[in-house]
């Protein structure tokens, strides 16, 4: 077997592993999945939409300066499997979010968990704990 034949076999094997798109919309590559940031702030909007839902949140720092973050979640179909509803958050709610930040340093991220005003902590779909 030549090197190119061996490489070809490897390619075929790799592609044989996944028959379907793992992500409906896009991969998680843009987020730093090894890093977690906690945001404590006030919800400015909760968007129960496709292809993703979003939490828009104002986060004050210790000096009182407010930074705004856009946090991406799964789709409504995925989120409902973690106990989310369209009404789980609303404007003005105080919440604590644990997120994976964008790698490009912009104020955005991917939700890990959200602690709701009623004390419940929800994940971000199956496999995204809790």
């Amino acid at each position: 077997m030549t090197i190119s034949q061996a490489l070809r076999s490897c390619t075929l094997l790799a592609f044989a592993a996944a028959a379907t798109p793992v992500f409906a919309h896009h991969s998680f590559t843009m987020f730093d999945m090894t890093k977690k940031i906690t945001l404590v702030g006030s919800v400015t909007s909760f968007e129960w939409t496709n292809p993703h839902s979003y939490i828009e949140i104002d986060v004050p720092d210790e000096q009182g300066a407010v930074k705004h973050w856009s946090i991406e979640m799964g789709s409504p179909s995925i989120l409902q499997q973690s106990g989310w509803k369209f009404s789980s958050l609303k404007k003005g709610d105080k919440t604590t979010l644990v997120i994976n930040p964008l790698k490009n340093g912009k104020a955005g991220g991917f939700l890990n968990t959200a602690t709701l005003p009623d004390g419940r902590t929800l994940g971000n779909g199956p496999g995204q704990n809790p």
């Binding site: 044989a16 379907t20 992500f23 409906a24 496709n50 292809p51 993703h52 705004h68 991406e72 179909s77």
Partner: protein, 245 residues
């Protein structure tokens, strides 16, 4: 008298058996992706896919694109995809997208299949001839006709637009022909064995199988892509639009 009764009983049994054998199974309902996993019954899990072997002139650019995708991923970037732009997947990819379910609505003349992801709809017209390729406008779903082969639904699809990425992103021509054999392998488990033929692009047909598990009482969630904040930048990279104040 006794013999005639016996014959009558045997006749009824035979008729009943024939009716049972000829009555197709009802696939109506919602089906979730079933991947099997450790300890799963091998009869229910999808069998391994066959190799995807492209003709050399198509294999080279295909593998080059895969290499570029892998390099971008190492840099923490994703190259543009149709999905990231909310463009639907079409046939056959729509039959299994991430963990989204599909719904079958079966009537004698038509079987309608709806994928929750992107709300894609395909219609399988039963027991009618397939059109001539020249009569099918190329699209995402082409034209699908179906028939029952015993307990197996056989679906024949032509007319998929070549610009739509195929199975695993493979290129395909207007001559792509998709044959599906859809069968209940257990009362609540469904397999869709998909064979793609393309005399222009493929060295040989490729076959893979999708497995589903019934989701009783599941109500499909709407999926209208009206808040797509992912965009493609000038370098062809997928980016998230954040809402700065």
């Amino acid at each position: 008298m006794k013999i005639s009764r016996l014959c009558g009983f045997a006749f009824l049994l035979l008729v009943g058996w024939n009716v049972m054998a000829q009555t197709p199974p009802d696939l109506t309902g919602v089906w979730g992706v079933y991947r099997g996993g450790r300890g799963a019954d091998p009869k229910l899990a999808p069998p391994p896919a066959g190799p995807l072997v492209l003709k050399p002139e198509y294999a080279k650019p295909y593998e080059a694109r895969r290499a570029l995708e892998a390099e971008a991923s190492k840099r923490g970037e994703q190259l543009a995809t149709a999905g990231a732009q909310c463009i639907p997947y079409g046939v056959p990819t729509m039959m299994s997208v991430a963990i989204y379910p599909v719904e079958f609505i079966q009537t004698p003349k038509q079987i309608t299949i709806i994928s929750e992801a992107f709300s894609e709809v395909r219609r399988v017209y039963m027991n009618v001839p397939q059109s001539k390729p020249d009569d099918v406008a190329p699209g995402y779903y082409g034209r699908s006709v179906g028939r029952w082969d015993g307990d197996t639904l056989v679906v024949d699809t032509i007319g998929i637009k070549p610009s739509i990425p195929g199975y695993r992103g493979m290129p395909h021509s207007e001559k792509m022909h998709v044959t599906e054999r859809i069968k209940l392998v257990a009362p609540d488990y469904l397999h869709d064995q998909i064979t793609i033929e393309d005399p222009v692009v493929l060295e040989k047909p490729v076959t893979y199988t999708l497995a589903y598990k019934r989701m009783p009482n599941y109500e499909m969630v709407e999926f209208v892509c009206d808040n797509n904040r992912e965009y493609i930048d000038e370098k062809g990279i997928v980016r998230l639009q954040v809402h700065d104040k």
